[in-house]
């Protein structure tokens, strides 16, 4: 019977001396799905990805990619993978075509099949007209597209994208997200890391949330949101955020949790429509002036806040 999993991560550890970069994580990625690893910077996402790509050797545990062990058969693992690194990794003094041709050779393509595949990928990433131009003269978005194109050359069964949208303009980000979904529709399995919860929310079939080298939550978007229940999140900006005021609002009916962060107060409430008038009432009686109000329906940020007590951006 064919294995239904593209990736199986089993008890994976990576230590750097006393520092536990990854501390015993387990998850599986089903074939044909988009799986997102979500977490703040330094959560251990890139270390995990590096072990899956065979760039780092696990201190403990193993990963199976399409049934191949990263410990026992790294070359077989690499042959299944197309990796899009976080930083743009291209030869800037070569042209787009020369880059694709070189990387294609590194993936074992030669001759006519290589030329055909380079033509196809140039078409997919929209660089046919600029194929002979030096990459150094490309815009950031064009480089990003080429960076992704390289990972598609050998039609990999599994594509790993490590924060591919970091530091790019909204238009290029949209283009990348669309291409990820297109690749998935064409049958590719994708493992995607990001610290943008909206991306994970939009793209993923399954999401794993990492923090401090550990997996703190795993499931579909709906399953994760259920962790915090159906509560809304109300973010208030006030002129006073003294402990007394916070205690008063905690005591307000319908308010489940209050945390202060960056000059704002974040409240988890049962139903924002019913609770908001009470909050304004309590503020008025305490002499607190509310400068702004933001209401968020349950999302991954709320999940992270609920699980760690701090916002993702912290």
């Amino acid at each position: 019977m064919e294995n239904e999993y593209a990736v199986e991560v089993n008890n994976l550890h990576k230590y750097y001396g006393e520092v536990k970069a990854v501390a015993g994580i387990n998850f599986t990625v089903r074939k044909g799905e988009i799986f997102s690893l979500l977490g703040p910077n330094g959560a251990g996402k890139t270390t995990t990805i590096s072990m899956i790509c065979c760039l780092l050797r696990p201190t403990e545990g193993d990963v199976l990619v399409m049934g191949n062990s990263v410990r026992k058969d790294p070359q077989a693992v690499k042959a299944c993978l197309g990796v899009v690194p976080q930083e743009i990794a291209l030869y800037e003094d070569l042209s787009a075509r020369e880059n694709l041709t070189f990387w294609g050779k590194m993936y074992g393509l030669r001759g006519v099949p290589l030329r055909q595949r380079v033509d196809e990928v140039l078409e997919v990433i929209g660089l046919v007209d600029r194929q002979k131009g030096a990459v150094a003269k490309f815009s950031g978005g064009m480089k990003r597209r080429l960076n992704i194109g390289i990972a598609l050359l050998h039609k990999p069964q599994m594509i790993i994208m490590d924060e591919p949208t970091v530091g790019i303009d909204p238009q290029s980000r949209r283009s990348i997200l669309d291409s990820v979904m297109q690749l998935n529709r064409e049958g590719a399995t994708l493992l995607y890391t990001t610290h943008y919860m909206e991306e994970a929310q939009e793209l993923s079939d399954h999401i794993a949330i990492m923090d401090h080298g550990k997996l703190i939550a795993l499931g579909t978007h709906a399953e994760l949101v259920k962790i915090v229940g159906e509560m809304d999140r109300v973010i208030l900006t006030t002129n006073i955020d003294s402990p007394q005021v916070i205690e008063n609002w905690k005591a307000t009916e319908g308010v489940q949790k209050v945390t202060a962060e960056d000059g704002h107060l974040s409240l988890l409430v049962d139903d924002s429509n019913q609770v908001l008038p009470r909050l304004f009432e309590a503020a008025a009686s305490a002499g607190v002036r509310i400068a702004s109000v933001e209401i968020q329906e349950p999302n991954l940020e709320a999940v992270f806040l609920h699980l760690t007590g701090r916002a993702m951006r912290d």
């Binding site: 070359q75 690499k78 690194p85 030869y91 003094d93 070189f102 590194m106």
Partner: protein, 439 residues
């Protein structure tokens, strides 16, 4: 195959870099070109470095002697094997003038007969001549008669060195030959007297002149010397080749920079993330490193071959016998390549590389090609030659210099062996460190 792909990619990048090409080809050719125009066309060929002929004012005050005149008169015109006609000369001074003014020395001495000693000295003082030679009145008598002493005066421009030294050497040789003839004839006559054999009057002068004339045959003297190389071959003593030394030194100096800069691509790829990305492809780290080393060797090979061909075709530099030149070129390629790999293995990042290459490579390069500063001049402290061998550049330079001096393949083997040992040490340490770090 993938190693070759990596090598070709690296070479493409190298040859597209303006700075790399300038360092590899532009600067060595430019520096040699400057010397070419300073020294003049032809200075790289086997004609050697030409000095202008030294202007010599000669005053012959020699009054000769009747005996000498009688002796010379007995010589048949055209019988001299040296090609000079001595039948009409009246004194030894005239013989000296005839020899110095002969076609053999026209390239090094330009002779003018001065009227008197004062005008000859005045010509030197006015720097119209480099040397004034004054042959005294009793010179012939002193040469022919026993127990008579005299001396030729050389008056020279104090700002000149080589020209006057050449004139002095020529005169010394002639005077020594005459003195030797005088001693030989004296000893011979004494032996004959002791044996009771009478010598016809005036015959001794004839013997003297015959001895002198025979001694002047250059080919006779040279037949007593044969210079051989350590392998037993007759040495092909090519003339000093200043352009060859300059271009050879430039090739060594910048060749080592090329080796290091090409090997540095490992660091640059590491910093730009392409090395990590390469390691996510089904390509072994060993293969990538092999490709990098191939690129270093191939780039150096192209550089050395191009510069040698360019030097030969454009500047007329004679690099030596083909096999010896190939071995010398190979020694440079392996030394510069492995030295680059070794240095890069010690460096953390490309910023450090700039400092290390700028400092270490410049200093060791200068030590290694020190002979370009001394230009093989005689009298240079031998320690200078030995000191160059404390750095790898010195070994590469020695191989190239020997090839240019006419050494054959076998002569170069010990030096190539030394270069090979350096290279082996560099490669083992460098490769081990790079593998530990990146593989």
């Amino acid at each position: 195959m993938k190693a070759l792909d990596v090598a070709i990619k690296d070479m493409t990048q190298s040859f597209r870099s303006f700075f790399a090409v300038a360092f590899m080809f532009g600067i060595p050719i430019l520096v040699t070109g400057m010397f070419y125009f300073m020294l003049g066309p032809g200075s790289g060929a086997d004609e050697g470095m030409k000095l202008p002929p030294t202007q010599v004012q000669i005053v012959n005050l020699d009054e000769g002697s009747p005996l000498f005149t009688a002796t010379m008169g007995s010589i048949e015109p055209g019988s001299s094997s040296s090609g000079l006609d001595f039948s009409t000369v009246q004194s030894m001074g005239e013989v000296f003038i005839a020899v110095l003014g002969s076609p053999d020395f026209t390239e090094i001495v330009s002779l003018t007969i001065a009227e008197d000693e004062v005008s000859a000295r005045a010509a030197v003082d006015a720097q119209q001549a480099g040397v004034a030679v004054i042959i005294p009145a009793d010179f012939t008598a002193a040469m022919m008669e026993p127990d008579t002493q005299t001396s030729i005066t050389i008056y020279q421009d104090p700002t000149l060195t080589i020209g006057p030294a050449i004139v002095q050497a020529l005169l010394t040789q002639m005077v020594e030959m005459s003195a030797a003839a005088k001693i030989s004839v004296g000893v011979t006559l004494e032996q004959l007297n002791r044996a009771g054999i009478a010598v016809v009057a005036g015959k001794e002068q004839e013997i003297f002149m015959q001895y002198e004339e025979t001694a002047m045959r250059r080919e006779t003297a040279y037949q007593l010397l044969e210079v051989r190389t350590p392998s037993g071959e007759v040495a092909n003593n090519q003339a000093f080749n200043p352009l060859g030394v300059v271009m050879g030194a430039m090739m060594v100096f910048f060749g080592f920079f090329t080796g290091a800069a090409t090997a540095e691509s490992i660091l640059r790829e590491d910093e730009r993330g392409t090395l990590s990305r390469l390691l996510t492809t089904p390509t072994r780290a060993d293969t990538i490193l092999t490709g990098k080393l191939l690129a270093v060797a191939a780039t150096l090979f192209v550089q050395v071959t191009f510069l040698m061909l360019f030097g030969w075709l454009v500047f007329g530099i004679q690099w030596g016998q083909l096999l010896a030149v190939m071995l010398a070129g190979l020694s440079l390629v392996i030394l510069a390549g492995t030295c680059g790999v070794f240095l890069v293995s010690l460096i953390k990042n490309s910023r450090q590389a700039g400092l290390i290459f700028g400092g270490v490579m410049t200093v060791t390069g200068m030590i290694g090609v020190m002979n370009v500063f001394t230009m093989n001049a005689p009298g240079v402290n031998p320690a200078v030659e030995k000191m160059a061998l404390i750095v790898p550049q010195g070994w590469a330079m020695r191989c190239i210099s020997l090839a240019m001096e006419g050494a054959i393949f076998v002569d170069l083997l010990p030096w190539f062996g030394g270069a090979l040992l350096w290279s082996l040490a560099f490669f083992v340490v460098g490769n081990l460190r790079l593998k530990r770090r990146f593989a």
